[in-house]
């Protein structure tokens, strides 16, 4: 069976990359990359009380998920989802670990509820009333490819339209020294089993072994290598240049995921 589907909408948010058209301009070389701290929008989907409860990881995931579904013109509630993240909410985790060293060992209920790896998926499903299946996974630095494979296989095997969201944010000190993720990055892809009116490209994935494709721009390559979710940048670049081609993404231990990209128009 071909592990393939159609990309219907994309969302991107990262350091110096404010949305998909902005990222596409940078990745296709139409605009120079200017690194800057990631600007996270307030999660417009959530009511004000919930907004205050969500950390940067949820804001990142929700922002790109909303951009991708808006661009695809698809109602989010129709989509199953795969959330791929190397870590959860690093700041929340730090606060819990710190609180557990204190005599009282008090963790706030909200902090604990937000500590689950699937917090972003939970907030997304509540905000969009999405009742479809949602898988939240992690494969450390290979999390993007693990998510892409899980998502594209679900699209192909179950003929299901789906939203893939890859996202990571930084840990504060002292965890930052052990897991030096510099900033927030997220990317989301609406994937459908069949070509739709707004489909951007057909993508087909397979497993391989060997080195992955670096990005020609040194600063973008540094971004790719420093945030697990940004391992998708070579795929975004191939989609941005709007040409048929293949891209090789970093997966587990010297293995890779080869993605053939065929633009729809």
């Amino acid at each position: 069976m071909k592990i393939a589907g159609y990309v219907g909408g994309i969302g991107v948010l990262g350091p110096g990359l404010n949305n998909w058209p902005d990222a596409a301009a940078v990745l296709s070389g139409r605009r120079a990359y200017e690194p800057a701290a990631t600007v996270l929008p307030a999660p417009a989907l959530l009511p004000p009380t919930e907004r205050r409860r969500t950390g940067r990881v949820v804001k990142t995931a929700l922002a790109v998920a909303l951009e991708a579904t808006s661009r695809a013109g698809i109602e989010p509630a129709q989509l199953a989802s795969v959330f791929a993240s190397s870590g959860g909410d690093g700041h929340n985790c730090h606060e819990i670990c710190r609180a557990l060293t204190l005599e009282a060992r008090e963790i706030s209920p909200t902090r604990f509820a937000n500590s689950v790896h699937n917090a972003a998926a939970g907030y997304w499903s509540i905000a969009t009333d999405s009742k479809r299946s949602s898988t939240v996974l992690c494969a450390f630095d290979a999390s993007f490819c693990a998510g892409l494979l899980d998502a594209l296989i679900q699209v192909a095997v179950d003929e299901e339209s789906l939203l893939l969201i890859a996202y990571d944010t930084e840990y504060p000190d002292p965890m930052r020294a052990k897991r030096p993720i510099p900033d927030a990055f997220g990317a989301a892809f609406v994937l459908t089993p069949h070509r739709e009116a707004g489909s951007l490209a057909r993508i087909e994935a397979s497993l391989g072994f060997g080195p992955c494709d670096p990005l020609p721009d040194a600063q973008l390559e540094s971004l790719r290598a420093s945030i697990p979710a940004a391992r998708c940048l070579p795929l975004l670049r191939q989609l941005a240049v709007h040409k048929e081609g293949r891209t090789v993404l970093e997966y587990l231990d010297g293995s890779n995921t080869i993605v053939e990209v065929e633009p729809c128009n």
Partner: protein, 397 residues
Amino acid sequence: MKPLLVKEFTATSCIGRGLEQTLDSLIGRRSGLQACEFETVRLDTHIGEVSGIDSQRIPADLKRFDCRNNRLAELALTQDGFLESVEEWAGRCGRKRIGVFIGTSTSGILETELAYRELDPLTGALPASFDYAATHNSFSVADYLRRRLDLEGPAMTVSCACASSAKVFGSARRMIEAGLIDAAVVGGVDSLCLTTLYGFHSLQLCSNAPCRPFDVARDGISIGEAAAFALLTRIPGTLNGDDVLLLGVGESSDAYHMSAPHPEGDGARRAMLAALSAANLRPDAIDYINLHGTGTPSNDRAESQAVTSVFGTTTPCSSTKGATGHTLGAAGALEAVISALALRNGLMPGGAQTAQLDPTLTARYLLANCHGRIARVLSNSFGFGGANCSLILGRAG
């Protein structure tokens, strides 16, 4: 979906190391829950602690993975010849053709909790010995197992709170069906840590007594720990009657609340219906339901409503969490293994700890063991964030 063979399986929890002890405890209706004396925890609660984890050793070449969660994985992996079976299968289909799909919610977070007590007084730095990737990160346990089993196929951790290790069956089945792999090691590993003990306490979801699912006086969960694994393969040409098959996986989201179930169990109902649809079965084909049955007032009420709405009030069901505790990210896989034991041994385990059934719960909850032929079992797992997953396992003959 195309059914799969549950070729091998094993489980280790507070009611036993491996299948024989686990089955003995279920037959004897023994609970492994005891007053909490874990680490430095001072909470008036009961827990399901697995004995012998502290003395469990990790192979020297994988030393950096040493943490409670991976020790528990190692302990479980070496029961029932599971490790040898995977090795034999790797010889048959190739190391690149076996995937690893593990559910966890805690991973090795205990290591981080302990490391935070040892911050450098001058710099605030974590100890040099703390290894984030190999212990804390959610992928640590899948990474450990992939290396320990010397496999080279795809691998991932699913972390959807307490539905994690039921959902791995779904991801594995899709990847096998897509033809990317021929077999999958699936399972769940979750271990005791301060975050879950104090966290569930903060939500006032922990009982002081051993948890009593479906009891009129139930007042919360007992946290447990466990590791359970299964080897999934395609259906071979010939099957034995005793072989266990994965017939259906159904997944849904509540879209309701981060830490409370939908009050009428709407998401749970949809997960069960999706599993039945995937298995192409009618509700009356299910002989026994292993409930999520955590013992909180809200979960059991919602789940009972959901079960009744799909199955009516006559299908026998019970929760095994009164025996094992709620093993969180490992619960789905542990209860899939218990369901497989139920099928093999014709045993519907009566819920341990429960004394007086809540008369407002209409599902047919078993207080005593029932024996007889069981052809198909449905197992429920629900988690924070509204993640729901139901599995259907059945006998081959």
